[in-house]
Symmetry: D2
Subunit: 391 residues, 4 copies
């Protein structure tokens, strides 16, 4: 019999639903060395968490995350709460000997992230594993992109351009939300979506950023307070609140291998819903990806003769592609949530193998340091700002 | 408490896995009036069906589908076996008072399909429901296409062009499979994939085909027998077998409203993996869909001024789009299997409401009659051949 | 000094303007062995032809094409009149020892085309050359497509799908024009645009069609007469006229090498302006072209490993591509009229070399026979109809 | 009779050929108030300029540009020489009372450009006109983009992202050229191609940049000297030379209306040949353009209901679109050189009307100041640098 892995999930909103689906679904498509049990779901509101547990498939509930950590039948704590609570929960869980999967961004500040990375490193020496949820790494086309770079098909990387484009607050009448308040969200587009493209470009290239030059912008500084609380995209009333985070972040960067990076994260790109766009130009080849066509990777092979050279539209749905063989026959595309399932597969596999999964908390900390450098550069006339902790 | 709906599934290969996922997943995202229970999975090989049940999440197993039909805790029989067994199983289930979901094509012959449609009509009078699994109808972009036609946005339909393009046997060295034998598969590309585009174009336009002119072709008539049996895409050996079905079907058609249709179904379109492509031109607007970019519908609105008119790339991932609101925020694309989940949602909803779901067995029969007319036209020098049973 | 080639052009509407541009432009970009002189422009209306000659750059004018043929300083007669006059003019010119470039379709009937091909064959024995203006052959992407097939990159051709989609009479209120009258235009979409895709697919594959099964349709049989005469797209008045040609033609075909063809030509594809779309699937590779993106050829190389296989978007603007080196640096796209310039280059080069240019009048006749078979099949319940004259 | 406009063209390389084609072609498609005469072509090498004049259609030649300026039959001097000679020639021509069309970038330094703008302003008071050749403004899709912004269809502009991507020196073995030497070219990718996207984004938005933060990079600092001199893309030998300009420029910017700009110009984007890509997001709509598909403008109309909203692929080949009506019927795309013809049309029209054409030398100076700010920011740790001369 496959041994079990008891899961305790903290938070049941968007990310909680996505993680629940992944825990439920992974064992039906992949041969996992441990069988995840949806043991307990935690949330502060007793009625709501009970309802969510029923809907999402969890056996038990808790209204205090500390109760989850104490349970013997919980082997892994999955943290899906807002960023300002990550450090406390994750560190406590690691110290209690629980493996931890923590949503991104790892934390709202570098200091918190440092504490978390330290706790993770200590825990690892006792065989306790941790991972930060940069889920998009597990989109098959991204996996293929990283492989092509690692295989040398791009040669020396020269250009990285990456955008994360959304438009859900392009309308000035869109109401306030906790995501627009600095004390809860840490930052705006920068940390929420910019973090993803920082992680993805570093992941694909196998390089890290060494410095940045940045500008942040808040286009709409005052918004109506929502008449129905807590609902993203609710309706605004007559009263208004202050937006205290960035609406958009743009920055230049340089990678360890010398490539130039150009980054943009915004929630004001009207018409772009979840447009994660990454292009990489190397001396031997180029890549392009757009999440709005997520099963496709474009690849230019510089070794082709000019007569027949061109960007290839690789439909990343072949058995030869990362993760794909476990799903459907060739050509049957995957969706957004499959990345979460793949994340669970890789995490469970690493735990069973006694290995540290990636992205680690240290990786999450490094991304946090990039975001921090972006904010410091923006506050200092866009001056070039090295990433701290890079040696 | 939500009442339950006991499911018995017959068959556990590709379609069995897709249906299992749908039964498991639907209640976690949609508010279903009945809670599906994965009661029993049936297959002829005891060891294999037991293994499959464990993997796919079924509580019990059976090696004879008749045992499934007899069970009191089974309310619905889901038929995922090859086409030559559909009629016997589905009719028996309906007569036993079980709702039936039957994979497409409804049957291998018109006679079988007629018997099934008759049985379904009788059963309906007793409140027993039936549905044929033309799953692609439940892709959100297809749902939106149908809605735009129904809303009059296309005006009078004039042209329908539809292709289902695959390439998995383009290589003459690809081995034999039951799908290439007429006695098991009924037909080749025509019934396997052509049936889908016949159904989809009729579904979107709200019209049916009245006649066809057709040509069938078998490019590779002899193929190596697989050394490992039963595996699609296995390796061929030295012995060969006869391909007795069509490799490709091309046909012209005319719809009840006067539109011209041009259809193509092939497994020899090198580079196209699951290319379901549909274009519709009307007097007021046009549509284009390609499953290789399945979250997108292209729409041309003829009422726009020429200066700014153009095909719009609608990313069908907004809450306003069919089925989408139950899943993720705007822009987070769905995948192939979501159609199966939507199918289950619509079926369960209809059963609870005491309504006949669509596509009905009568709809499945009508598609069968189109396929039959295609074969008769191809056998008669492509002569125009009316669809039987159209009055 | 480069010897001259005196040109006499008959007709000065759309095609006349395109040909004039080509004669003027070719020597400035290509090294031609003969220098074209824009000697004389002919048209029936003296005032209009004089104005056109001034605008289009012609030295002299004539109101009777016979005067053009008699002139000693005219070496080549370029026929840009409606199809019902082609035979008389072209045959007379050839008999007078003038080289002839004749717009497509070669003629309105097979009989006329036969007479023209015969005259051309006779003239060729005296060193007098002739060419029919299937200009799209000279789009660089089409030239590359033909080369890839000839180089064996597609292997054995299995599928050809070709559409020529326009929408300029999709509106039933669009007025009558000579193009909608059978006695002037010969046929409708079939001969006007269907002829192009018949020629192009035969040209690219190096094969000819052996038979067809077809349906023709006239969606709008009565249209307002234009209040301003002679203007395509003019405004219609209260009186109406009968449309006596097809609005759309759809047909299946088979090529000499066994490939299945699916063809469509229509002026009712709302939103498609000049959509010439050609796809070819072979055993070793596939191609796709769309004139709405005319500088691009898509190519799928079946020999690539599955991991990185995909349709390549070849931007056909490199010096290595047909005709391109004479124009601009890489990446600087060409437009519609460049095909006419390339046509002139190839024609002049062949004349100077004492060779017969292609497409010949015999090629034009063969296309005419395909169109004829399409009409006969459509008139005979779409029955499969062999192309006459194919041995 | 239409009065003439005598043209003297200085330089006969790539730009000289493009300008010659425009002067020759414009009167055949547009009704010009003045008829351009290709009077004299100037170049230093007598044999070469004579050959070029024959090929490009010029009546006379000169080996000293000063002779061109002195001629009474020259009304307009067209400057197509390298940037370091623009100021001297253009100023002398203006002072001699000749209208001037000067290729971009206006000059190699801000000081030169200031002198030129001053000379142009003085000349304008005497009715002498001047224009700088930012030709891409005259691509119809760009004209439409500007119109949509001016019509308010985008609302308030928030984001501008613009890239000019080429790859002709991505290979380190590509040889030296004058374009890689600072004293001749002024700068590298920045001035050669970055200037275009600076101008285009300002032109489309109707706003100017107020400041930038920038980084420049030279990836390959030493290259083989060409064995054949003077040929772009020639073959390199054993000796090497120093690259003294930037290979790539990336910068952030801010527009007068508050929009954030992100710019990139590079010759190292492998697979991109002439990729001018511009996206603009406003509060009411968005635009996207890519020169690799130059006849298309993508437009997202934010006022559409979410159900049917999407980027429209406007094929900018309708009579309603800028410049298009003079060419071919709908759907027949234009190419690279048409922009030059449109430029001539607008210039001649302005001269005849006694109006100052745009872009003016002052506009060219303003772009020069942006480039200068980019270089100063890059030299000062990417610090935010205001554009000089903006008040």
């Amino acid at each position: 019999m496959t041994p079990t892995l008891g899961i305790g999930l903290i938070g049941y909103a968007f990310m909680g639903a996505a993680h629940s689906h992944a825990w439920r679904t992974a064992p039906h498509f992949f041969d996992l060395p441990l069988r995840p049990e949806l043991t307990v779901l935690a949330g502060r509101d007793s009625a709501k968490v009970t309802e969510a547990a029923g809907k999402l498939g969890w056996r038990g509930t808790a209204t205090d995350w500390r109760r989850v950590i104490e349970r013997e039948d919980v082997d892994l704590v999955d943290v899906c709460t807002p960023g300002n609570t990550h450090a406390e929960i994750a560190i406590a869980a690691l110290e209690a000997g629980k493996h931890v999967l923590c949503e991104k961004p790892l934390a709202n500040t570098v200091a918190e992230a440092e504490a978390m990375a330290e706790a993770a490193a200590k825990a690892a020496t006792r065989g306790v594993r941790s991972m930060v949820g940069f889920t998009y790494r597990r989109v098959p086309a991204i996996g293929l992109a990283r492989k092509l770079v690692a295989d040398g098909r791009l040669g020396q990387i020269r250009h990285v351009r990456a955008q994360y484009l959304q438009d859900w607050i392009a309308d000035p009448a869109a109401p306030m939300s906790w995501r627009l308040e600095k004390d809860k969200a840490g930052s705006g587009a920068l940390g929420d979506i910019g973090a993803h493209v920082v992680d993805l470009t570093q992941h694909i290239t196998g390089q890290t950023l060494t410095g940045v030059s940045a500008t942040l912008e808040t286009f709409v500084t005052e918004r109506p307070l929502p008449t129905e609380t807590g609902k993203l995209g609710g309706v605004g009333g007559a009263e208004t609140g202050q937006v205290t985070v960035d609406d958009a972040a743009v920055f230049l960067g340089r990678f360890t291998g010398g490539a130039l990076g150009v980054f943009e994260a915004t929630r004001f790109a009207l018409g772009r819903k979840n447009g994660i766009r990454i292009e990489i130009n190397g001396s031997a080849g180029s890549l392009a990806f757009d999440f709005e066509d997520m099963n496709v990777l474009q690849f230019f092979d510089g070794s082709e003769p000019a007569e027949t050279a061109g960007f290839r539209r690789i439909i990343v749905t072949e058995p030869e592609h990362p993760y794909v063989g476990a799903w459907w026959p060739a050509g049957h595309g995957l969706g957004y949530e499959h990345g979460f399932t793949h994340q669970v597969v890789d995490l469970v596999t690493a735990i069973a193998a006694g290995e540290d999964p990636t992205p680690s908390f240290a990786d999450g900390l490094q991304v946090q340091r990039v975001l921090d450098a972006v904010e410091r550069s923006a506050a200092d006339s866009s001056r070039w700002t090295p990433i701290r902790g890079e040696n």
